[in-house]
Amino acid sequence: MAPSALLQVTGVYKNFGGVQAVSDLSFELSPGELLGLIGPNGCGKTTTVNLITGFVKPSQGKIFFQGRNITGMAPHKIVRLGIARTFQMVKPFYQLPAYKNMIIPLYSPRVKQLAGGKYGDRDAVALDLLEEVGFERDAYVAYKNASVLPQGYLKRLELAKAIALQPDLMILDELFSGLSLAEVASILPIIEKLRQEGKTIIMIEHRLKELFRIADRVVVLNFGEKIAEGPSNVVMESDAVKKAYLGVEA
């Protein structure tokens, strides 16, 4: 394993009964990199995220994070090590204001540990973080119940919850799905800012145009197998990728 790799996935297999969801998957991630994870529906992207974050245990293979073997570790322990993720389907506390939804990540043992054993004023931190992801403070959006917020804000809330954990690696699972072009355009700068701050990010995305604008490298999956890896322009020229996406021989 390269000593500089932040995350290393080596020969991971996962089968659900007879279904081979992920098969012999290996890839590495260097610190500060933005990796796109793409592929057709059902190709195993979300399963890969679940494997890295411990929500699903691999049938075979190993996963290392910061040189530590995290294979089969409980998901909450993996979060404490510094991997945060967003979920494709957002499910906030609808009956609570947006900023109160932030209390859950801000209650994390990781946040406490990074702050030197003190939680601080969680409400204030929550409001600051939400402003960072575009909850306009002047308009009091953060005080509105999650039930009345449009999808764009709910996705930002999901992103803010991941940022609150101050992770070393962020995994964004289809952050742009269900959003309008304008909403995507307003979230992109936030991700670019995170990159400038040196965050390492894995993005699962179907909106390839936006993804390719910011991704350093792309891993393409099909039927659980890695069919291509490299810079986006190179990968999209590959015959296997064309076949997987377009369903025809190139």
Binding site: A74, V79, R80, F87, F93, I103, Y107, P109, K161
Partner: protein, 333 residues
Amino acid sequence: MKKRKERIDRGIKARSGDIFALSSWREMLYLSAPRLIPIIGFMVLPLVLGDYWQKVLLSVAVFALLAISWDILAQSGMISLGQALFFGTGAYAAGIFNYYWHWHPLISIAAATIAGGLLCTLFLLPVLRLRGIYFSMVTLIIPLMLVRIIEATKIFGGTEGLTGIEALSSKWIELYLAMAVLTAALFGFRRMIASDYGLILKAINDNDRSVINAGINIYWFKTQALFISACVGAFAGAFMTHVYMFAGMPVFALDYSILPIAAAVVGGPGTLAGATLGAFILVPLSEILRGIGGLRIVLYGLFLVVFIVALPEGIFQYVQRKYHQFERWVEVE
């Protein structure tokens, strides 16, 4: 002339979070009445009631505590059908401490509260991963099993139970101990539920994935909620052992499981105050209906059904809403 009903929040105008700018006695009363009325009520009731109703009041307090204990668990996503487990374990623990080791009743109650809480947490620890009906079924079965174990092995007096347990020194200590613990549990745990800690417990119920995703060990939090709830239930049992001067198999009876749930549901689950209010309605009602004999259960059941159908949110939520809003008819057009 058309009219339309308008609802207006009665709230205090200058308010930010929990900081209020109180400008009149009226506003102070508005804010403090919901807290003062139950506290004063709890303190005064023992003084104004006759002997018989004082006994009923003890029963009310015990069922209110069991209902609070049920509600705390339900908030954290654990629907228990076996509050009798907590009650019975506490009752037997107190019985054992006093019968075999002759501990002073107050010490025995305190020790049985902790010991009962620990034991019940241990009993349910293996099934903490179960959710919904699966968890409920296990809680229903364990007290029934314990009864049979006691019957078959004849431990702790077997079917006879432990008799001759020392009573608390006076009925006033009984009454005010029950009322003081009820007040502390009601207000203390309401505060806990409203805190960020309570929010995490509720989040575990609502969407446990998001809590795990914050690096929080949900089983540790569930264990804490279970221990807290079990301690409340165990106190109720330990207390009753010293009131009845007896601990036997009836302490695992189904009544102690079902009535608290009925109280919490009628009163309004999720608030603890609703659970308390429910116990204050259902237990005396059951006593009043005692006069009519066999039809008592029918009437009691009917009352439950009517309330659950008419006020599914629970009495407390309804009253709370009415308290914070006033309605008036305004002319339109």
